[in-house]
């Protein structure tokens, strides 16, 4: 009885040995690569967004360049000024504001001028959805919670939130995190990165 796969193309001993050796090397390489697959060497931001999926907002390295006192429009007319302060979690602008997408969004302000007493201005409107008259927006600055805001869908709401002195005078950019605990899944198959909550109409830092 034949136990061969099929009539074998006769290889010389050296060629056969070479083929086995090459196969072994390839398999070793694949094993190393598989080890690398489960041991990525990436930044915390990358890991949080792409791998662990603990955030829907991928921290992008925008500069935060910003003129203190300016209220930046997040309507289509403010595209140029938005660029340097919108970090992630925003899509648009649409006609009446910039859609927040996902369960959080970030802004970054790095003004040259920094009075000790300043406030964060936010103008927002909630998305319209039956049975969901309002959205909650949790605002944090540099990792410290500042306020929970109720944003209605009927008309834009404007908030002036005093910034703690410690945050205002410290060097480096001011990181604003907006969490949307009541964000809505709009379609049955929409992933969390597509959930909707509010539209931002303007944002800025002003004297308090």
């Amino acid at each position: 009885m034949s136990d061969a796969v099929s009539p074998t193309p006769r290889l010389s001993r050296a060629l056969a040995l070479g083929a086995y050796l090459l196969s072994g090397l390839l398999i070793a390489w694949y094993l190393v690569t598989m080890w690398l697959m489960v041991h990525p060497q990436v930044s915390a931001d990358y890991r949080a967004y792409y791998i662990d999926q603990t955030t829907t907002c991928m921290n992008q390295p925008v500069s935060g360049a910003y003129q203190f006192g300016t209220l930046v429009s997040f309507l289509p007319d403010g595209r140029d000024l938005q660029k340097t302060i919108r970090v992630c979690g925003w899509e648009g602008p649409a006609g009446d504001g910039m859609h927040a997408v996902g369960t959080s969004a970030r802004l970054r302000f790095n003004p040259m001028e920094r009075p000790a007493s300043m406030a964060l201005m936010l103008s927002m409107i909630a998305i319209r959805r039956d049975g969901v008259p309002a959205q909650t927006v949790s605002v944090s600055l540099d990792g410290e919670k500042l306020a929970d805001l109720d944003v209605g869908s009927g008309a834009p709401s404007t908030f002036k939130l005093p910034i703690p002195a410690g945050v205002a005078v410290k060097p480096g950019p001011i990181e604003v995190l907006l969490d949307f605990p009541t964000a809505q899944q709009m379609g049955p198959t929409d992933p969390r990165t597509r959930w909707r909550s509010i539209k931002l109409q303007s944002a800025g830092l002003v004297a308090n």
Partner: protein, 386 residues
């Protein structure tokens, strides 16, 4: 005379030349028909803007890949969707040719795509049982059909299809080592290409059985054949090369998979997605919605896989089953394109349509008409085609 019967003058022309002539004829006809669709759909259309004008949706990503390579992290344009999701071989090939020739990307990519489609048709001929009617339909499907946009612009489907046919042609001749080498290229073209290894396995098993081998002797007999061992080891080479590159450049070998999150693709069960698609009725009119078209094409795809099983083409059937089902876990997006680019599907479909003369001519006519509709749908953003 029918297409299947050759006249004495036709016999004087070498077969390969006749086949080439047929494919070339469809390439020219398809080009003319797509251009007409382009001219009536796009404002200020001209020959000079034709190649770029047909480049829609993912094509733009491939152009950028060929011209500037893969994104670093963070992506310079500060978007989450890095271009790591796109497998490298075809854009790499076009990028290299662009570097050598200095030609602009889209005309070059279109010309290479047409050449690969003609080549794929030639490779398909023996796999179609040397049936010239089936060959004619196959060539028309690629070069002058509603889905010819995928095979004549800048999409990875054309190389994927070409290499798939090359692997099956090599397997048909029991040239397993060559099949392994081609599979390595296939696995660098699209992620599902790596599953061609199962087709190789099936064919090795069949050869083993034909030689009187049994289940018990299969693995020892295979291991005694260095060419087979090397073929299996080579098959995923393209994929692993890309994984290594991603680890070295991004730090994450699975970046191609992880980045899918940025596209907002849902995750779910294929039957649920297909059922939902089939039930997505249009809001007005009688024409099926684009979701329904995607659902219908998927059902036809599974039907064709059933035919492959029935015809005992197990290697093709298993490979197609994996290639069709895996993407469905991420929804129906691009599923028409994935079906159209699966070589065994087109082989089976064209064989079936070539069985009757009247069906052959009808299919040919519909393909030609479909070229215009496909191109117009493509240019006007018909979502099922994306």
């Amino acid at each position: 005379m029918t297409v299947a019967m050759a006249s004495p003058s036709a016999r004087a022309v070498p077969l390969s030349l006749r086949l080439f002539g047929i494919a070339l004829g469809f390439a020219v006809l398809g080009l003319v028909l797509r251009y007409l669709a382009f001219a009536v759909t796009v404002k200020d259309a001209s020959i000079l803007t034709f190649a770029e004008g047909m480049c829609r949706w993912d094509c733009g990503w491939y152009v950028r890949l060929a011209e500037t390579g893969y994104d670093p992290f963070p992506v310079p344009t500060m978007i989450n969707a890095g271009n790591w999701a796109f497998f490298p071989l075809f854009p790499l090939l076009i990028g290299a040719l662009r570097f050598v020739t200095g030609l602009p990307t889209m005309p070059l990519a279109s010309a290479v795509s047409v050449a690969l489609s003609i080549g794929a048709s030639m490779l398909a001929y023996p796999l179609l049982g040397r049936n010239i009617r089936a060959f004619t339909l196959f060539a028309a499907f690629l070069l002058c059909g509603p889905f010819s946009i995928y095979f004549t612009t800048f999409y990875t489907e054309v190389l994927f299809l070409f290499l798939t046919l090359a692997v099956f042609a090599a397997l048909g001749q029991k040239r397993f080592l060559l099949a392994g080498l081609l599979a390595a290229a296939l696995s660098a073209t699209r992620i599902v290409g790596v599953f061609i290894v199962f087709a190789i396995l099936v064919e090795v098993w069949r050869a083993h059985r034909a030689g009187g081998g049994t289940w018990r002797t299969f693995i020892p007999a295979t291991l005694r054949r260095p060419d087979l061992v090397l073929a299996f080891a080579l098959a995923p080479l393209g994929l692993f090369a890309y994984l290594t590159y991603l680890h070295l450049s991004i730090g994450d070998a699975l970046a191609f998979n992880h980045v899918q999150r940025a596209w907002g693709r849902p995750l779910g069960l294929p039957p649920v997605f297909v059922w939902n698609a089939l039930n997505a009725w249009p809001q007005s009119g009688f024409l099926p919605s684009s979701s329904q078209v995607s659902g219908l094409v998927t059902v036809i795809g599974y039907g064709l896989i059933g035919v492959m099983f029935w015809q005992r083409r197990f290697a093709m059937a298993i490979y197609s089953l994996i290639c069709l089902t895996l993407p469905l876990f991420a929804g129906m997006a691009s599923i028409v394109r994935f079906n159209a680019g699966l070589a065994p599907m087109i082989l089976t479909l064209t064989e079936l349509l070539a069985r009757r003369s009247w069906l052959f001519w009808l299919a040919l006519l519909l393909l030609a008409i479909g070229t215009c509709f496909g191109a117009v749908g493509w240019l006007t953003g018909y979502l099922a085609l994306v």
